[in-house]
Each structure stands twice: as C-alpha cells, then as structure tokens.
Amino acid sequence: MYCMDEANSLSNSVTKLAERLGCKWEAIDKARSDAMVARVKLRDLVNNPGDRVLSDGCSVVVFGSVARGEKTSGSDIDWSLLIDGPVDPEHRSVLHLIENGIQDTFKSPDPAGSFGEMVFSHDIIHQIGGQKDTNSNITRRILLLSESCAIGSSEAYDRVLRSVLKRYLEDDVSRTKGSSKRQYNIPRFLLNDVVRYWRTMAVDYAHKRRARAGLGWATRNVKLRFSRKLIFVSGMLTCFSCHLDPMKEDGRNLCGQSEIQLSTVNHLMEYTQMSPLEVLAEALLKYASDETARDAMGAYDEFLGCIDDGGKRKHLDSLDPELSDADPLFQEMRKQSHGFQESLTKLFFDEYDELRVLTRKFGVF
C-alpha cells in the first residue's frame, strides 16, 4: 500500500533493482503508471479542491491492483468507505455519491466481494480471530495492511492502520512476555494472520471454482499464482523485516517494551507504505542473487503483461478448466508461475542464511 503523493519516491526498490540488473520491466512500469492515473482521477472525484466530499472520521480507501500499483486494462476499482468516527446518517448518501462517480469512470467492484461498502474500524481492529472475524473482515484487514491506499484525506485511514498494527503487537504474547527481552521479535500474531489469509485465499479459490462452475477460473488461477501469492510473500517479508532490518540495531538502545512496540509500529507503518512488489524488490535487492531477482521480476512482468492484454485476459476469463492442459496461453502462464515460485523458494530458503532460518522457524509450523 502506498500513498499517492509519495508513490514515485517509494517506487525506488523496483527502480533500483531494474538499474542493478540492467532490466526494463515494461508491463510493471505501465501498470504502475496506469495505477497512478487512476488514483489521480479518484482523488479528483473524492477530494476536488473546493468540493471536498468527506467530513473527518472517514476515508475513501482503494484496494487491489490500483492500490498495488498494478492496474491493468481489465482492473476494477475495489474501494471502501472506511469509517473511524461518530455515526453520521450521511455516510450512506455519500457512499452512493462516490459509488455513482466511480461507476461513471471505472469498472465497479465484484458485487459478491468485500468492497464498495461502508467499513467500520471497530470490526477491523477488535475482531481479529474468533467467530466475528468473517472472511470479509480478514480480507479488509490484511489488504488494508498490504495493498491499500487512501484517496484524499488519509487521517482516518492512518489512524486505523496504526491501531491494527498496535493491536497485533499488544496481543502478541511472544512479544510481551519477559520485559527484560530488549530485542525485536517476529510479530507472530500478525504473521499468523498473514499466513491465515493466504490459506483463506487459496481455499476461496477452490470454492469459487465450484460455485461459479469454472467461470473465470483460469484468471483466478493465474492471479493466485502471482498477485495473491505476492501479498503473502510481502506479508512474510514485512514480518521478518522486524528482525532483519537495521531498526533491529536501533532497538538495542530502547529500554522498555512500550518503546520497542512503538518503534515496531512505526517500522511496520513504513512497510505498509510500500506496495507488495516494492517489498519483494527490496528483499531481492538485499538477500537474493541477481539471477533470482531477474527471474522473479521477469516472471511477474510476464504475468502483468498477460493480464493487461485484453485478448489474453478475455481468453483466460472464458477458458474451460477441462481444456486448460492443452491451452498454450494458460500453460505459458503456468510455466512463468513456476519460475516465479522457484525464485521465491531460492530467496526464502537458499540464498540468505538468516532468511532461511526465519522461514524454517516461523513460516512452516
């Protein structure tokens, strides 16, 4: 997730990696540029100077490809009205006002999805785990952390993000026990939720295949192999960064748990300001060989190029699962996804000892 105004400066990791490898990833560049254009249009809709739409206590938040900086030709706009303030009867009216504006300009979100609605901070912050943490709630929460972007005023959005992170850290037993432990740990509560969400996406993929009788299956399959997996990867790397990043060194000067917790919240907030691809690129820059980095980003570039191609996207959208084994396009994307997976395996298990230790210790059991 990254803020619109800072998107260019935060695209550093991908740019730096491209420079180091001497690569040009055209589809990645185009998707990022198209996402920026979409976000500017959305900002004009919600926060036109002289015609501000929202009062304080709420933010318009976009998720999905536009927030990730990966907008392709078929992208819809997944958005929510995030409310973190007093009840206002006009929330409903303003939701419709924004909805109408978005419908006039963009493709609307999937009506069966978790978007295009009012979302309340209390559910996101307080209902982590338990019966009331519905599929929609965990989706909103994890996507808020990993691929979201406030359009216009971000006050409520920033407050909710910070509160969610604080909640993960406060309730993390492994972090709070033993006040003498003056070091950064992996935020296990958060990591468990990241892992849970990845498994939820994979299970939902199987559910949707059955529920929709295979309609749109191939596109969802390819997305699961790339963009959905990337959310998981960036979530893992974000959690591991609490141990791996230089903040660990600064942490030695911190005295108490509350100081460490605040510092960790700030560190994680910085990561939430990066898109998942930026988080991956950052890790590839630091921990991977050039070959692995080239393979990972190259495969992802192929994926975005395919999804952005209207004809290919249409072909995948309508591909019968029974015919996929003999379908050249699907098989090509499958092959690319194996390359992507292989690079990730090398990154997490083969090329950097400390990352391998963390992955073995926290990523499996």
Partner: protein, 239 residues
C-alpha cells in the same frame, strides 16, 4: 434569498481591518467582526471612534465578543462594547463565556448567545442552553450549525435547539467543525446534514461563514452555504 456573509476571522485572522476591505471589495454585505481574543477588543473600539465609514457599506453587522476574559473583567468588556450596542449591532457571546449574566442583562436581544461545540461543558444542547437563557431571558440566539453537527451528527440536538429557541434565532454561524473543533470549509457530507434542518431555520436570519476562506474562494463558499441552507426538497445536491 438568505443573506450570507463572513466573519472577519475567517478572512484574515486577527486583522479585522484587512478583512473588511476584502469583503467590501467582493460585494459581501454581511459581516461579523471577530474579536474572539480579548486583545482585539480595544483596537476595534478605537476604530469605531475614528474613521469607520467602511461599516456603512455592510447592511448587516454583528460583533463576536471575546471567548474569555482574563485581562479585563466581563463588566469591563460590556462597557467597552457600548459603542457597538449603541449602533444596535448584536453581540454574539459564547454560552460558556457568560459568568456574570447581570453584566449583560440590560442589553436585551442585542446579546446573542451561541451554542457550543463538544469541547465545552455548557451550551451544547437545548437542555444546556435553557439554563443560559433562563438567566438572560431577553437574549437572542446565534445558532452555530457547525457546532451543533460536531456535537451530534444525527442533527437531533440541532433540531431540539431550533424547536426550543428557534424564535430567538437572530444569526446563523456556518462552517464545518472537525472532531477536534477546527473550522473547515463545508464538505458534501456537512452540506447534506445542514439541508436536513434548513427548513426549520428562519429565512430572515443572516448566515455568517466561519470557515477559513481564501479571498478568491469567498464567492464559492457563499454559494455552498446558500445551497446548504436551502429548504430540502430532495436528498440530492447539485453538482
């Protein structure tokens, strides 16, 4: 059509003279001179003693009294405001500023009591205002719609205040007040809220904008305030 103007504090904070020039140059003829800080009171009194011909250019003038009294007493403030009362200009006073009602009691409906935002403990609701008006039964009412919405976004308390004291309303203050009490330009959401109660407001009460407005956007904000205070016939807003 409702008269709409601006507070000098909204145009040039702490500099009523510049604000008056700007408002006159833009043909705004409703003005409230903001003397919210007590040190602003004496310069305005001196201004009235001197060449204050510019005030003739405004058809509606009101004065906003200081919000608190620490260097001068309440009694001294009322004394200093005598030239204002002499011109029959209403003086808007925060409900929580009045500690000694006897100082104000002889001034009738020129004392215009304003409802408060959530940070204050007095004057936020009809019930709280009733206590204030009981002590100043002749006082008029400055209904601050932004304060009312900040206290209760359902506008229920706003409706109760208008029902209880609507016949006293002499002025309207219009802005959007943030959850932390800052005046802001109107958002669409605030405009929708205001339209719900617009029909209950007396048409002859002038509206004073308190949002900080750049001089080049005064006309735009005046239009938005007019649109907000139009009687609601449908839920839709133009634009």
């Amino acid at each position: 059509m409702r008269l709409v103007g601006c507070s000098t504090g909204a145009i040039a904070r702490g500099d009523f003279s510049s604000a008056l020039d700007i408002l006159r140059s833009q043909g705004i003829d409703v003005v409230e001179v903001s003397l919210l800080r007590e040190e602003e009171l004496m310069p305005f009194v001196r201004f009235l003693e001197g060449d204050c011909g510019i005030m003739e250019d405004f058809s509606v003038v009101s004065i906003h009294a200081p919000k608190s009294f620490s260097n001068i007493t309440e009694e001294q403030a009322v004394e200093l405001l005598k030239p204002v009362f002499a011109r029959n200009w209403p003086v808007v006073v925060h409900a929580d500023s009045i500690v000694r009602p006897d100082c104000w009691s002889g001034l009738g409906n020129l004392v215009c009591i304003e409802n408060m935002d959530s940070r204050k403990k007095i004057g936020r609701t009809a019930r709280e205002l009733e206590k204030v008006f009981r002590r100043l039964p002749e006082a008029s009412f400055c209904f601050d719609i932004g304060h009312a919405r900040q206290v209760d976004r359902t506008m229920t308390h706003a409706e109760e205040m208008i029902q209880a004291f609507g016949d006293r309303i002499r002025m309207l203050h219009v802005s959007e007040v943030s959850l932390t009490g800052e005046h802001q330009l109107l958002s669409r959401m605030a405009m929708m809220s205001y339209r719900h109660i617009a029909a209950m407001l007396p048409e002859d009460a002038p509206a004073v904008i308190e949002s900080p407005v750049a001089s080049e956007t005064i006309a735009h904000e005046v239009r938005r305030v007019r649109e907000s205070l139009q009687c609601r016939r449908s839920g839709a807003l133009a634009g």
